[in-house]
C-alpha cells in the first residue's frame, strides 16, 4: 500500500507539534522516521491511525492508495484499523489488554473485521503466533506473565494477523534489551516483506534504523529536515541535527570490526544472523535471507 502525506500539521491546545510534513511510502517499502524524543514522530503515526487525542487539531492530507483519510469519521477509520493499517506500540506491557489471554488478543482483529468461525479464527491466530516464534503453550497466558520480548511478539502478531497492507511500528524496540531488540527488528522486517506490506518504522536510534529500513526521513521539532536512503544518510548526514543523531549512533555502537572507530563505515555485509537457542527468549527462526550461516548452537556446559 502506498502512502502520501502532504502538508500534515498537528497542534494540541494551540501548540504546534508537527508542522507541514510531507512523507511518501511506496508499496512494499520500509521507510524510517527518526528524530530525538519530542520531535513529534509518534504523533504522525497516531494521525495515520486516527488515534490522535480528542484535543488535537489536524490539517493537511494523508492518502492511502489515493483515498484521503483526514476528515474520515471514527467508524470508517475503525474499519481501516487492523484490516489495512495496523500499529505496533512502544510499551507492549502497558498496551496489551491485561484481562485478555494471548490467543484472545491476537484473535480480536479477526473478530472485528472478518466473519470466520471460531476454529478458523483460532487456527489463523495460532499460525500467526507460530510465525512470531510463540508456540502453543503461550496461547492462554496473560500479558503480565510474559517477558518484554514476548509481549512485543504478541503485539506484532496482533498487528499482522489481519494481513494489513501498512504496518506502523512506533519505536517497537525502545523498551527492550539489545539482543531482543535485534531479534524483534529482524522478525518485523521478515514478516513485513513476507506479507508484501509496507512499513513506517519510528525510532530515535540510527543503529536500529540501519537494519529495518531502506530509506528514511529525519524529523526535528515537528519538521522534516532531511530524507534519503538510510545508508546514504548514515554515511553523509547533511543537516546538523541529522549529523548529531548519526554521530551519537556511531559513538554508542561498535563497528562490525571492533577496531578504533573512524568516520567512514566499512561496507562489508553484516554477519548473517544464525539460530541460537537462547534460554531467556524463545528460538529465533533464521531470517529467510538466502545465505543463512549454518546454525551453530553453542551452550556453555553447566
Amino acid at each position: 500500500m502506498s502512502v502520501d502525506i502532504q502538508g500534515l500539521s498537528i497542534a494540541i491546545g494551540g501548540v504546534s507539534i508537527v508542522g507541514d510534513v510531507d512523507v511518501h511510502i511506496a508499496s512494499h517499502s520500509r521507510v524510517g522516521l527518526i528524530g530525538a524524543s519530542g520531535s513529534g514522530k509518534s504523533m504522525i503515526a497516531r494521525a495515520m491511525m486516527g488515534l490522535l487525542p480528542t484535543a488535537a487539531t489536524l490539517t493537511g492530507s494523508i492518502r492511502y492508495e489515493g483515498d484521503e483519510i483526514v476528515g474520515m469519521d471514527d467508524r470508517a477509520l475503525a474499519d481501516l484499523r487492523g484490516r489495512y493499517v495496523s500499529m505496533v506500540f512502544q510499551n507492549p506491557g502497558s498496551v496489551l489488554n491485561p484481562v485478555l489471554t494471548v490467543m484472545q488478543q491476537v484473535m480480536l482483529p479477526l473478530a472485528l473485521h472478518f466473519n470466520l468461525s471460531t476454529e478458523q479464527r483460532r487456527a489463523r491466530a495460532t499460525a500467526m503466533l507460530a510465525k512470531v516464534g510463540l508456540n502453543e503453550s503461550f496461547g492462554n497466558r496473560l500479558p503480565h506473565q510474559l517477558s518484554g520480548g514476548q509481549q512485543q511478539r504478541v503485539g506484532i502478531a496482533t498487528a499482522l494477523v489481519g494481513a494489513p497492507k501498512l504496518i506502523l511500528a512506533d519505536e517497537p524496540t525502545t523498551a527492550l534489551d539489545s539482543i531482543t531488540q535485534r531479534q524483534i527488528v529482524r522478525l518485523l522486517v521478515s514478516l513485513v516483506d513476507e506479507a508484501g506490506a509496507s512499513m513506517l518504522f519510528i525510532t530515535h536510534d540510527f543503529s536500529v534504523l540501519a537494519h529495518a529500513t531502506e530509506n528514511c526521513y529525519v524529523l526535528d521539532s515537528g519538521r522534516v529536515i532531511e530524507s534519503g536512503t538510510t545508508r546514504g544518510l548514515l554515511d553523509h548526514p547533511r543537516t546538523p541535527q541529522a549529523r548529531q543523531l548519526v554521530h551519537a549512533a556511531r559513538k554508542l555502537t561498535l563497528r562490525a570490526d571492533s577496531g578504533e572507530d573512524d568516520d567512514v563505515v566499512d561496507h562489508e555485509a553484516d554477519a548473517e544472523p544464525s539460530t541460537f537457542e537462547t534460554p531467556d527468549s524463545d528460538v529465533v527462526r533464521a531470517s529467510p535471507d538466502a545465505s543463512a550461516q549454518p546454525a551453530t548452537t553453542v551452550r556453555k556446559e553447566r
Binding site: M49, G82, M87, V95, N97, P98
Partner: protein, 322 residues
C-alpha cells in the same frame, strides 16, 4: 488461595472486634444498664429483677460469652420493652429496609454509571462540564433536604404534583404490594440521587484514568471505534474499581436510608434502631447494631473477593506479593 484464607480470617476477627465494641459501648454507660433501662424512678426491686433477668450480676466476661454464644445461634435476645424476640422484630423491619436499599441502589446505578460514562465520553466540553457540575451538586445535597424537596414536589397531599405517598408505609406491609411499592418510590429516589452522584464521580474518575492508558489505543488499533473501545474494554477494566465503589456506596447509603426512613416515617431498621435507642431498649439496640455491622462486613467481604476475581493481575499479584 492464600489470600482467601487470610481475608476470611480477618472477616471473623473484624466481626469479633465489632461485637466487643458494641458490647463495651453498652457497658460503659454512666450508671448501671438495668437502672437506665428500668427508668429513673422505678422501684429498686424492679431494677434487681431486671438485673437478674439480664444476668447482669455475672462478671462482664461471662455476660459477653453468653451473648456471643447466643449470637452464634441467631438468638439476639428478647426486647424488654416489646417482649418480642429481637430477631423477629428485626426480621419485620428488614423486609422494608432491604427493598428500599435495593431500589435506592438501582436508582444510583441507573443514574451514576451512564452519566459517569457520558461525562467522560461526551464530545463537547460544555456537556462534560455540565455533567461534572451536576455530579458535584447532586452529591452535596443533604439526604434530609433532598427528601423534603421531593415531598414538596411529588408528595401526595402537599406536593405540587401529587404522585406518590409522602408518608408512611401500608400497615399490611407487602400484602398491599402496589401501595407498599409506591410508598418506597420517593424515599428510594432521594437516597438514589445522592448516592448516584457519588457513583457518577467515581465512574468518571475511573474511566478518565483508563482513557489515557494505551489499552484503549490498542483496542482501537485492532479495529474498534473510540466509543466502542471505551464502553467494552474501558468498562471491563474499570469493573474491579466500580465494584468496590458500589460496595462503598452501599455502606454510604445506610446513612441516607436511616434519615429517609425517619423523614418518610417508614418502619425500617433505621427508624426502629433510632426509636429503640430513644427508649433505651439497649438489648434490642445491641442486637440490631451487631446485625447491621455483620451485614456490612459481609458486603465488604463479597466486594473485596469480587474485586480480586475481576482483576487477574491482582490475584496473581497476591500470589507472589513481593
Amino acid at each position: 488461595m492464600r489470600f482467601l484464607l487470610r481475608r476470611l480470617a480477618l472477616f471473623v476477627a473484624a466481626l469479633a472486634v465489632i461485637s466487643i465494641l458494641i458490647f463495651m459501648a453498652l457497658r460503659v454507660l454512666p450508671g448501671d444498664v438495668a437502672s437506665v433501662m428500668a427508668g429513673t424512678d422505678s422501684p429498686p426491686e424492679r431494677v434487681a429483677a431486671l438485673r437478674s433477668q439480664l444476668g447482669l450480676n455475672k462478671p462482664l466476661i461471662g455476660q459477653y460469652l453468653d451473648w456471643s454464644w447466643a449470637l452464634l445461634h441467631g438468638d439476639f435476645g428478647v426486647s424488654t420493652l416489646t417482649g418480642r424476640t429481637i430477631s423477629a422484630q428485626v426480621g419485620a423491619r428488614v423486609t422494608v429496609t432491604f427493598p428500599l436499599i435495593v431500589m435506592g441502589l438501582l436508582v444510583a446505578v441507573v443514574i451514576g454509571i451512564p452519566l459517569g460514562c457520558a461525562s467522560t465520553l461526551a464530545k463537547s466540553g460544555r456537556v462534560r462540564a455540565f455533567l461534572h457540575a451536576l455530579a458535584i451538586v447532586g452529591g452535596s445535597i443533604p439526604a434530609l433536604w433532598g427528601g423534603s424537596l421531593l415531598i414538596l414536589l411529588f408528595g401526595r397531599g402537599i406536593g405540587l404534583v401529587g404522585l406518590f405517598p409522602s408518608q408512611g408505609f401500608p400497615q399490611e406491609g407487602w400484602a398491599a404490594f402496589s401501595r407498599a411499592l409506591a410508598s418506597l418510590v420517593l424515599p428510594a429516589l432521594s437516597v438514589g440521587i445522592i448516592v448516584g452522584s457519588g457513583l457518577m464521580r467515581y465512574t468518571h474518575a475511573a474511566l478518565g484514568e483508563l482513557l489515557s492508558s494505551g489499552t484503549i489505543d490498542m483496542a482501537m488499533a485492532c479495529g474498534m471505534t473510540r466509543t466502542r473501545a471505551v464502553l467494552t474494554v474501558g468498562l471491563r477494566l474499570a469493573m474491579p474499581q466500580l465494584v468496590s465503589v458500589i460496595g462503598l456506596t452501599f455502606a454510604e447509603m445506610i446513612t441516607g436510608v436511616m434519615v429517609i426512613e425517619n423523614l418518610f416515617n417508614i418502619p425500617g431498621l433505621g427508624q426502629g434502631l433510632i426509636s429503640d435507642l430513644g427508649n433505651r431498649d439497649l438489648i434490642a439496640v445491641q442486637g440490631e447494631l451487631f446485625m447491621l455491622a455483620a451485614f456490612f462486613l459481609v458486603i465488604g467481604l463479597v466486594v473485596d473477593l469480587l474485586h480480586r476475581a475481576l482483576d487477574p493481575r491482582l490475584n496473581d499479584f497476591a500470589e507472589r506479593t513481593r
